[in-house]
């Protein structure tokens, strides 16, 4: 039975890893459309997703689980052609990545759940910051990371 818990948790973390790959990739086109403080914020956001990706790769491979591979490219939900579309994509990236870490909460416990929660909180807060830059109102959603 504990084997099943471990596998559910590994499955959730593998899904989170695929989301982190896509997030890192997406910050490429986002970053080039931003400048100044917003460019800096995009660089910091990308670094944060890279750090979580690296930790997940180590955790999944040492845990004997399968490590899903990164892809050469990811389809964007809409073309990123200017600052406004870049900010909109940044909001989506953070909110969708947050959803994966939220999904990891029920299948984790202890330090692992704390890490998943830290990621959910961090990405939700960053989504709010991007919403402010993009002048999207409201700045917040009632249930960050909840699907639908």
């Amino acid at each position: 039975m504990s084997g099943r818990i471990i596998s559910e948790s590994a499955e959730a973390l593998a899904s989170a890893l695929t989301a982190e790959y896509a997030a890192i990739w997406a910050y490429g086109p986002v970053g080039v459309r931003l400048s100044g403080a917003e460019r800096k914020a995009a660089v910091e956001a990308e670094a944060s997703h890279r750090a979580r990706r690296d930790a997940l790769v180590v955790q999944l491979s040492t845990g004997g689980g399968s490590v899903p591979p990164d892809r050469a490219g990811y389809a964007l939900p809409f073309p990123v052609i200017d600052r406004a579309s870049a900010l909109r994509l940044a909001v989506q990236v953070e909110e969708r990545t947050a959803a994966f870490w939220r999904a990891a909460l029920p299948v984790s416990s202890g330090a692992e759940r704390e890490r998943a929660l830290a990621a959910l909180v961090e990405y939700a807060v960053r989504a709010t910051r991007w919403r402010r830059s993009a002048e999207i109102t409201p700045l917040t959603v009632p249930f960050p990371g909840r699907p639908g």
Partner: protein, 175 residues
């Protein structure tokens, strides 16, 4: 891979929560069986003849009260500072949505929508002092929700995680 894929995959994982529920049910049933086996020799001692202890209040009751208090504080501040209302009222609505979910989870009637501690005192007349007070409350609320999520059973962890994250985003929105 399309970036929309993560959300769809998130739903798949979401469905897993229900299987998690049934798994926990099985675990509990197993625990009861084990308890029954261990307790059998003790029946002669009258250990099982004691009255049932009174039901404990749900551990999420303080969090529910806090959601209502935070909502009331934001509404009071929005009334005192109408220029802030557009910023504050969506946050109050989020806390009220949390309260409704927590009430459903803990079995508390939603009719008793008044916070047990009553709404906080009149908000400061100074605009930035009012915002600072709201930030202080949201920060304490975020920490409480983080603790609740860490200690929660699997079936409550995702909701509590969202509540912790929401309170953290409120703190950001009040800057």
């Amino acid at each position: 891979m399309v970036l929309t894929c993560p959300v769809a995959m998130g739903r798949t994982t979401w469905q897993d929560e229900s299987s998690e529920l049934s798994r926990r049910g099985l675990l509990r049933a197993g625990a009861l069986l084990a308890l029954g086996g261990a307790a059998a020799p003790l029946t002669g001692c009258g250990l099982l003849d004691r009255d049932e202890p009174p039901p404990q209040p749900d551990p999420l009751a303080p969090l529910l009260d806090e959601s209502r208090r935070l909502a009331a504080g934001l509404r009071a501040a929005a009334t005192a500072h109408p220029d802030l209302a557009a910023r504050l009222l969506p946050l109050a609505e989020s806390h009220e949505a949390h309260a409704a979910e927590l009430a459903g989870l803990t079995g508390v009637a939603t009719a008793s929508a008044t916070p047990t501690a009553g709404p906080s005192a009149t908000p400061p007349t100074d605009r930035s002092a009012a915002l600072a007070e709201l930030r202080k409350s949201e920060r304490a609320g975020r920490e409480a929700a983080i603790r609740a999520c860490a200690a929660a059973p699997a079936e409550r962890a995702a909701l509590l995680g969202s509540i912790a994250a929401a309170r953290a985003t409120h703190l950001e929105a009040l800057r």
